[in-house]
Structure formats: structure tokens, C-alpha cells
């Protein structure tokens, strides 16, 4: 039986990818960001997963306004790295896990979550920046990755409550897969940031820290937050944080079992326009 061993949460700021790709990680500005991930890279090497289920959002790269799926699961054998307008990032292509992805799609749809199944999809910085942060700059990513894209571009995005419930369905699906795979689930995006309009540059440290506290200790209550709270308090793009609730919903303690261990927590302002948050939770036992 497959199981979820841990969940990882991180911002996916494109400028972080650019700093890595252009060899600027030693600059003091970027050192402050990357220092928060040193532990995480060691942790990944010590406890490598067999598969990463990576929740992220596409930023008008794979999906234009022609098709806007709320939840899209990548079931392909591989995924190319998107050219977002600056040329594709010089990172390895992403190898999928079609068997597990199809299994999760079938289970979760029958569990009342109507996913869109995607067999051709370029993946953008939302997916590749977290991989770079946790895996460095390898020739190939260390394991297969199932991309799971959530619409957070056109409002309304799915509610926090729906995301949290979906995470629970994903855990049930993983646990009904016969191969004994160790699966990590990652929730990415956030934290507070606003990229548009005269209010651009908004950051709300206290709100972010409280979000992290509650994500750890009382995720079910946190999942009740309405959209307007994210928009007003964490900026129009801070709403990406609903994606963290998918990963959190997939942890064992939500239905039963002991609370997860907090093995790493990091917060820093800024990376470009954004507050960077990062958390690793391991399932107990």
C-alpha cells in the first residue's frame, strides 16, 4: 500500500528560479532566501520520496483563457518545461507517474471531486521553482512528479474548505494504491503578495505567521477562511495559499492519527514582490 510520508509547503516565486539559473544564489539578497532551504535539501536526500504529488498553479502558460480547469491532474509520462516568455528555465523535464496519477484521478473523481485529466501540459515556475529549492540543480529530478494544477488566476478559485476536503480524498486514493510507494505531497504558492495595481507590494507578516501556526495546529478551522480574507489581508495573489490546504488535508491527523511533526519552518521577506514561507511536516509513525 502506498502512503503519504510528508507534506512540504513553499512559495514558488519566479525570481527565485531566475536567481538560481543565473548563478546569483551567493548574493546577500538571495542568500537570505536560500539559507531557509539548506535543511530541506539535506532532508530530501535523507528521506527521498518515490513520488512527489505537487500542487501548484499555472500562471497563464499551459492554460490561456480558452480553458480554465479548477483542478487539473497531469497523468502523462513526462512534462516539458514551459517558455513563459523569457525562454524555458534550464531545468530537467519532469517525469510523471502515469499509473499512480490515473489511479488517483479515478479514485478522487469517484469520491465526488471532478478533476480535469491532462495528458499534455507544459509546467511553469509554479512547479519547477519548488523542485529547484528542494532538489538543487541536478541533471534529472530525483523522482517522478505528478503535477496537480489549481486555478488561482481567474476568480473564484476553489475555496479553502474544498481544497482541504480534496486533500483528504487524495490521501484515501494514495492509500488504496497497491505498490508500497512513499509519496510526498507539496502545496506551493503564497505567502502574502500582490502583483497588480496601486496596492502591489503588499506584505502581511503577522497574517502569514498566523497562517503557518494554524496550518500546523488547526487546519480544519483554517480551511473555513473565506476568499475575501485572503485577498484583503494577504494580497490578491496571496489567495494561492488555498493550495497549501490540499497538501495539509492529505496528512494522517486530519481523519485520525497523531499530529504531524514539524521538522522545518522558515519565513522571509522579500523575494522580489513576495513573502517566502516554507514548512515541512512529517506524518508520525
Amino acid at each position: 500500500m502506498a502512503r503519504i510520508t510528508a507534506s512540504v509547503y513553499t512559495s514558488h516565486v519566479p525570481a527565485i528560479g531566475a536567481a538560481l539559473d543565473h548563478g546569483r544564489t551567493h548574493e546577500p539578497y538571495w542568500q537570505k532566501v536560500f539559507s531557509g532551504y539548506e535543511f530541506s535539501r539535506h532532508w530530501m536526500q535523507e528521506k527521498p520520496p518515490d513520488v512527489i504529488f505537487l500542487v501548484y498553479n499555472d500562471h497563464a502558460n499551459a492554460f490561456s483563457l480558452e480553458i480554465i480547469p479548477t483542478f487539473a491532474i497531469g497523468t502523462a509520462a513526462e512534462f516539458a518545461v514551459a517558455d513563459e516568455g523569457w525562454g524555458p528555465r534550464p531545468v530537467p523535464k519532469v517525469i510523471g507517474h502515469p499509473e499512480l496519477a490515473a489511479h488517483i484521478a479515478q479514485s478522487v473523481i469517484q469520491d465526488d471531486f471532478d478533476l480535469t485529466i491532462v495528458n499534455k501540459m507544459d509546467v511553469d515556475h509554479g512547479l519547477t521553482v519548488p523542485l529547484s529549492l528542494l532538489c538543487g540543480q541536478p541533471q534529472a529530478w530525483p523522482c517522478p512528479v505528478i503535477p496537480f494544477a489549481v486555478n488561482v488566476v481567474q476568480y473564484p478559485v476553489p475555496s479553502g474548505r474544498r481544497c482541504f476536503q480534496l486533500g483528504q480524498a487524495i490521501r484515501r486514493a494514495v492509500e488504496s494504491f497497491d505498490d508500497p510507494l512513499q509519496v510526498q505531497i507539496w502545496g506551493t504558492g503564497g505567502m502574502s503578495h500582490q502583483l497588480q495595481g496601486p496596492r502591489a507590494g503588499l506584505i502581511n507578516r503577522e497574517w502569514d505567521q498566523r497562517f503557518l501556526d494554524r496550518l500546523i495546529a488547526e487546519p480544519a478551522a483554517l480551511a473555513q477562511l473565506p476568499h475575501i480574507e485572503y485577498v484583503r489581508e494577504a494580497g490578491s495573489e496571496g489567495i494561492e495559499l488555498v493550495m497549501w490546504l490540499i497538501a495539509r488535508g492529505a496528512m494522517n491527523d486530519v481523519d485520525r492519527g497523531a499530529p504531524p511533526r514539524v521538522v522545518h519552518r522558515f519565513y522571509h521577506v522579500p523575494a522580489s514582490n513576495t513573502a517566502v514561507g516554507h514548512l515541512i511536516l512529517e506524518n508520525a509513525g
Binding site: 519566479p14 525570481a15 531566475a18 539578497y29 500562471h59 497563464a60 502558460n61 490561456s64 483563457l65 480558452e66 514551459a82 517558455d83 513563459e84 516568455g85 523569457w86 525562454g87 488566476v153 481567474q154 476568480y155 473564484p156 502574502s192 500582490q194 502583483l195 497588480q196 495595481g197 496601486p198 496596492r199 502591489a200 507590494g201 503588499l202 506584505i203 502581511n204 507578516r205 503577522e206 497574517w207 476568499h227 475575501i228 485577498v231 484583503r232 489581508e233 490578491s236 495573489e237 521577506v269 522579500p270 522580489s272 514582490n273 513573502a275
Partner: protein, 131 residues
Amino acid sequence: MALDKPYRDVPGTTIFDADESRKGYWLNQFCMSLMKAANRERFKAGERAYLDEWPMTEAQKQAVLARDLNRCIALGGNIYFLAKIGATDGKSFQQMAGSMTGLSEEEYRRMMVGGGRPIEGNRYRHEWEKK
């Protein structure tokens, strides 16, 4: 019954909902076309002619030519799509975001390094109207 849009009360912010998306459909699809290197070259070689290939409004075309991102957003543009124009111009996301705030590039960068725009006084429209 009209949809509830409580986010209209957030200052300096346009939420890209279905109404905005409908208004900005061709503006955003034009931006999307700039993901192809060949299209970026054609656009740079003749912006007006390239824009005229798209069923955009004249106001949308003018806003793009002026690189007025606030105006583009008012006309239905979404920042992730508009970012393709910035990429074509060789601008970073920080330069684009900063250009909408009335701050210089350096002032905006300093604000971010200093912890960003504070939330106090920036939650509700009425807080901005007092200023």
C-alpha cells in the same frame, strides 16, 4: 440576483473575475501569443500592426502601446497575461509590479526590502479615500 463581490472594497486592487475575463479576453489572448519567440519578434518589429491583428478595443491597444499596466487591468487584463509583455520588453516581475504603484523602480525595491507595503491603512477603500 447579482453576485456578491466583497473584493470591490479592497483599495488599489482589481480581482480578475469572470466579468473582467470576458472584457479582457482578446487583450489577454494577445498577451498569450507573446509566449512564442517568433511572435515576440513580430510584435517588436511593428507593435501597432501586430495589435491590429487582434479584435481588441482601441483603448486596450493604446494601453498596451503606452505600457500602462493599470489601464490594461482596468480594461480586463490579468497580470499573469500582461507579464508576457514585460517579458518581451525584458522587464522583471518586480519592475512590472512596481510600475503600477506610482513609485520609482528604486523606491519600490526599497519598500520590498524594507518589508513590503504594510497592511495597516491598506485594507479598505475608505482608508485610501481619506488620504
